[in-house]
């Protein structure tokens, strides 16, 4: 049991517990707050996996922007969220075994897979910001991801304009 394993187990337990609270808590705003904890846990997992950029980007994008937007939406639609009764629809009893079944199936599939390497590969490009430099080059090189990169930009523009069109009421 190394320190890293202990950290991972603690973080995984916290984020899974928080994720459970997201889907079960009665008050919607609490769901959103628990989601923030889950997302933070996932950011730490990225950190353990040596993906520092993704860890920080996760905090900036998910906690700094998406979660705030969620809290905002909850505040705006609060009048509809005032009932503190059950937040489940009538099919929740189907959903629970279904997701448990899926989890069981996934674990079974993982058990039958042979591709686990026994050793964590050393990062060849670890040297300080070398990894980020490679990522940057990959994102804009023609034999890399330049097309998805530009498409992501266009997608976000489309999302913004669509969202504004939908949410903006002209008086």
């Amino acid at each position: 049991m190394t320190i890293e394993k202990i950290i991972f187990l603690v973080i995984a337990a916290i984020s899974l517990g928080a994720a459970l609270m997201v889907v079960t808590s009665r008050k919607l705003i609490h769901s959103a707050l628990w989601l923030i904890l889950t997302l933070f846990g996932v950011a730490v997992v990225y950190g353990i996996l040596d993906a520092g950029f993704l860890a920080v980007a996760q905090v900036v994008i998910y906690i700094g922007a998406i979660a705030i937007l969620f809290i905002f939406a909850v505040m705006l639609t609060r009048r509809a969220n005032q009932d503190t009764g059950s937040q489940n629809n009538q099919y929740w009893w189907v959903a629970a075994p279904l997701s448990a079944l899926l989890f069981g199936g996934l674990v079974w599939m993982m058990g039958s897979w042979q591709g686990y390497s026994t050793e964590l590969p050393k990062l060849a490009l670890e040297a300080k910001s070398g990894m980020l430099k490679q990522l940057g080059q990959l994102l804009v090189s023609p034999d890399g991801y330049v097309l998805p990169f530009e498409l992501a930009s266009v997608l976000l523009v489309a999302a913004l304009i669509g969202a504004i069109w939908v949410a903006w009421d002209r008086k």
């Binding site: 922007a65 490679q134 804009v140 976000l156 304009i161 504004i164 949410a167």
Partner: protein, 118 residues
């Protein structure tokens, strides 16, 4: 996990304790004489009318939305900026195109009158 990140993790722990401990100590030092008048909602002495949840304009939401999109796009630019010296001219120009799309987006929102505060 490099030792730089270890330091950040330790800092996270300490930073939670530092403001938390004085608050707890003050809670122990301070007097506690609650009464129902004291714990009423503070509105300059006037009694609260209705729910504290008045409805707010959706304009705030639009700004949060615009921020979300911009934030995501700018985060994408950081790896590009770091690799700048190694990039070819094509790489630089595709980054510039990316920013230009953002710029066009801002202009579109401006034209739509979204950025106007009414």
């Amino acid at each position: 996990m490099s030792s730089d990140w270890l330091y950040i993790g330790l800092f996270l722990l300490i930073v939670a304790i530092f403001p938390g401990a004085p608050i707890l100590i003050a809670g122990w030092l301070a007097p506690r004489k609650p009464n129902p008048l004291k714990s009423q909602t503070y509105e300059c002495g006037i009694e609260t009318v209705g729910d504290s949840w008045v409805q707010f304009k959706a304009q705030y939401y639009i700004f949060a939305l615009t921020f979300l999109i911009f934030d995501v796009e700018i985060v994408f630019l950081f790896p590009w900026a770091i690799a700048f010296n190694q990039l070819t001219l094509f790489g630089v120009l595709s980054g510039v195109l990316f920013i230009f799309v953002l710029f066009a987006e801002l202009l579109a929102a401006w034209r739509k009158g979204v950025l106007e505060w009414i």
